[in-house]
Each structure stands twice: as C-alpha cells, then as structure tokens.
Symmetry: C2
Subunit: 316 residues, 2 copies
Amino acid sequence: MFLTVTLNAALDITYRVPRLRAHSTHRVQEVDERPGGKGVNVARVLAALGKDVTVTGFAGGATGAALRNLLAADQRERPNHARLTDAFVPISGTTRRTVAVVDASSGDTTQLNEPGPAISPAEWQAFTTAYAGLLPRTTAVALCGSLPPGVPVGAYAELVRAARAADVPVLLDTSGEALRRGIAARPDLVKPNGDELAQLTGVTVPLRAARDARRRGAAAVVASLGAEGLLAATADGAWRAAPPQTIAGNPTGAGDSAVAGLLSGLADGLDWPARLSRAVALSAATVAAPAAGEFDPSTYAAVLDRVEVAPQPHAA
Amino acid sequence: MFLTVTLNAALDITYRVPRLRAHSTHRVQEVDERPGGKGVNVARVLAALGKDVTVTGFAGGATGAALRNLLAADQRERPNHARLTDAFVPISGTTRRTVAVVDASSGDTTQLNEPGPAISPAEWQAFTTAYAGLLPRTTAVALCGSLPPGVPVGAYAELVRAARAADVPVLLDTSGEALRRGIAARPDLVKPNGDELAQLTGVTVPLRAARDARRRGAAAVVASLGAEGLLAATADGAWRAAPPQTIAGNPTGAGDSAVAGLLSGLADGLDWPARLSRAVALSAATVAAPAAGEFDPSTYAAVLDRVEVAPQPHAA
C-alpha cells in the first residue's frame, strides 16, 4: 500500500458568493465541504488510480470527525476506487478549517487558512510510533504540507530517516524551514513549487535551483511550475515536461495530483519521462475538473500520451 | 422562565487577519467560535441579567453539536449567570456557520453567512409540538432571526398565535416576508431596525413607519436606529431613547441585547421609559464590550440612569 502523511489536515470549505466585497455582509449561495490537506488530496488521487492507500497524520475535534466522515462517505460512494484507509492519530485539539470564498462574478478565490491545532509532545510521540508501525507494509510514502504548532521543525527529517531505515521510498512536499531540514535527511524526491524552490536555494533559475536542491540532499527534485509543467533534476538526467496546451480551470490541488503521479509511477517502475508524463497529465486533469482537487479522467487520458518531455542540458 | 426561539441558529466563527485582500491567501491569526443566532444571543444576555431562559430552535450535524457544547461550556464557566436550558430540536441537516473576517489593520469586518439547513415538514412539526409544550412554563417569548429553508414563510405567524393563545407575551425580531406575515398575527412587540421597518412599511420617516407597523398588527413597535438609540410606538405613547453619548465599538449583537432588555423589562413590570432605558443601556454595553455579542457590565451600570428618553408628539 501507499502511505500519505498530513500532519496539518484540514476540513476544506468552499463558499460561493455572487461577488465578494470586503467589509460587507454576504449570503453564501453554495457551501461545499471536502477532506483537505495535501496528503489527503494525494491519497484520493492514488485511490482513483487504483492504488490502495493509507492516510495518516492528526485529526481531532468536530472538524476532525467531519473530515473522517467525509473520507468514509467518499469511499462508500466510489466503489470503483481502490481502498483508502483512515489511520489518523487522534488529538485533543481541533483539526483546522480552510475557507475558500469563490467570487462567482470573476471566478477568483479568496483563501482563509486556520493555523491548525497545537500538538502535544505525547501526541507527536504517538504519531511517530504509529508511522513506524505502518512503514513495513508501505510501498512508498509521501510527507505533505505544513507542520501544525507544537510539532518539532525537524519532524520531516525524522520521518524521512525512518522511511529510509525501513527501505521505503519517501517523497517530501513542504516548504520553508520544514523543507530545509527535511531535505538534509536525504529523501528520494522533493516536489517544491517554483517559489518554494527559490526560497530554499536562493536561486531563481529553476534548473540551477533544482540542481542546488539535489546537492542539499534530495536524490531527485521535481519542481512544479504551474502552467509550464514540471522540471526534474535526477541522477539519471534532467527533463522538462509540459502539457500540449495550457489548460483552463482551477489549479487548486494540481501539485498534489503531480505528487500522486510521481509516487505511483515510481512504484510502477516507470522511467523518469513516463513518470513525469503521468504527473503532468494528472495535474492538467485536476485543473480541468469542475470541483477543486478532483481530476477529470477524460482529460487525463487525452493528455497522457501528448505530454512534451524535453531532456535538459547537462550541468556546466 | 423566558423562552427564545432561533430557527436558524449558527456557529459563529470569527477570523482575525492582518489585512483582508480579496483574491489572495491569508493565514488566520486568531480563531474564535461562539454559539450564534439572534435568539441565542438574547438568551445569553437574559442569563447574564439573572433570568432563567430556555433556548429552542433547530440544531444538527457537527456544527450543531459544537454550538450545543459551547452553550454548555459557557454555563459551566459562568456560575453567577442564571440557568440557560438547551431545548434545541435535533434535525438531520447541519446547523449553519457564519464567518466574520476581521481586518486587524482597519477593524472592519467582512461577513459570510451560510444559508442554513433544509428543515423537513416532520422536523417543523416536531418543533411546533416542542414549542407548545414549553409555552405553559414561559414568562415571555422572543422569536428571532431568519427562517431556514423548508420552514413555511408563515412560521412566525403560527408561533405568535400559539403564544397569544397560551397568554404568553411574544416579541418578534425578524425581517422581510417573515416579519410581514408574523406581524399580522398580532405580536405584543416587534423590534425591527431602521431598514427592516422601512422595507416593511415603505415609509422612511421612522416615527411614521413605526405607527404604520402598529396598524399592521403589532401592539408595540420598538425600532433600533443604531447610534441614535431606540424609537418606540405603543398604545401608551411614543418615545425616543438614546445613550448620553455615542459609544465606540462593535455593534454586533447590540439589537439582540436590546431585545433582552425589552423582554426582561416587560416581565419585571417596568413602564415603557424604564424598559427603553434598560434596552439602550444593554445595547451600549454590548457595543463597548471587547468581544462581539458580549456586554460590558460597567458600561451597562454607567449608562442605565443616563439614558435620555424623550416623549414623541401624538400622531396627527
């Protein structure tokens, strides 16, 4: 099975309003609630691809219960998906919400993200024990998203080392100091976006920055560059992979779908160009889907064999 | 005991952000959750004034459970308040949230109100039965706020008639068609704000509009006019009541505190000028309180005997 870790999971709420005007009162027309957090998104795409997956991290309070109920309901409603197993570790705090306010007049989104619950040392200890117990059955693990308050900033470094000790391929998708510390523990793959990569390395040219990030400890770096697709720097070479045309839609969750593509491609033994094609096609299919974070299977099928993968020059 | 009805109760969430910018992403600095809905606010003020009160209406889902837990926690934490009894009727739907986003740079608030759960005919029937069972023990009842989807638009008219049949004084605080229908059932008191009164009557001069609203069926009309205080039109005369000076602060809940003042003053046998003074002082103390919807006891005490109550001319 695959394993995704979401330490700061969320209940994602979307409000649709006719027009958002700061400092006034709005009647919300539509309310949507989904299980959220990057690792949860990755797991849902893996399950849709037919991969059994376990989600772990922290969940607590009324919003944590709502998140878990939505995951279970999703499983019941999608019998053709692979099994998604809930292995969240309970906490005394309350899982955060994110609120996305969609302005129907422009399609623009205003995002409000709660900080997340405080995690106690005992809860962090309970998590690392549960994680160690899951690793022996794990094909590959993705460590995703921000750290909630109370989790040590070196948390991802610890989780990367545990995966490597158990011989489980490990992908890290986070930012800031958590990425800086985590990458030093030598994960198999990191997937920053362009801003995160520049912040990590201080280098603004993506290919140079990706190579710099490899030197910091990642065996491979795949940077997600929005509409320009993916840029990979690996031991086997470097590639750019882009969709055949710009895809219109909502980019929320496109990076998480790329992670699912990379992780499943690794486990399926695909070479780098095929892994990158899968990741780009899943990202495009997520942008094209009407609901944020879903992916559109027909776009996936249509884009998959038309992704343009271009080798990049060897490092100077 | 007093009874307040909140058919569209809410979990009120407040987010504080450094500066709200439409179409960008915000990390929320502070999250506050409170039991919400106008009748719930009225009940909390009545309990703080030493009046036993029962809250009813509909509650359901994770947010309904959170609302009820917060009400219970509030009772435990405030042993000097009178008893607040939870008599919400459970529903299969989920209690709505309201989200207030406070911009710390300006103090301005952007409000997002969910529409509320759909109420089934069986749930409405269960409510009217529960309400009828509570009336014989009720000193006075306040019917407050909007109607959730599925509740008949004539709901308040039905609840007003039931209260009158049980000889229980009834106050109605709502707007639009629910107010128009409810007022025709002859409540003892309606408390619109200036806009609601103008919308009901088509008359923009408040005193004329209040008298027009009496002709539509209300035995008395008290309009809340923001910083200008209250305007009352009753069988015993008409008055304006205003605080001695403008009170700075957050007006959220000021109208609900006025309702609590009017209801408790009626039950205590106060004459109209004394009732209006109490209502104005409670409103001012609510505006002055640091947390929205709370009231500041020292402001209440300081303002109470300095409210200016001026008789208004007889109708032409």
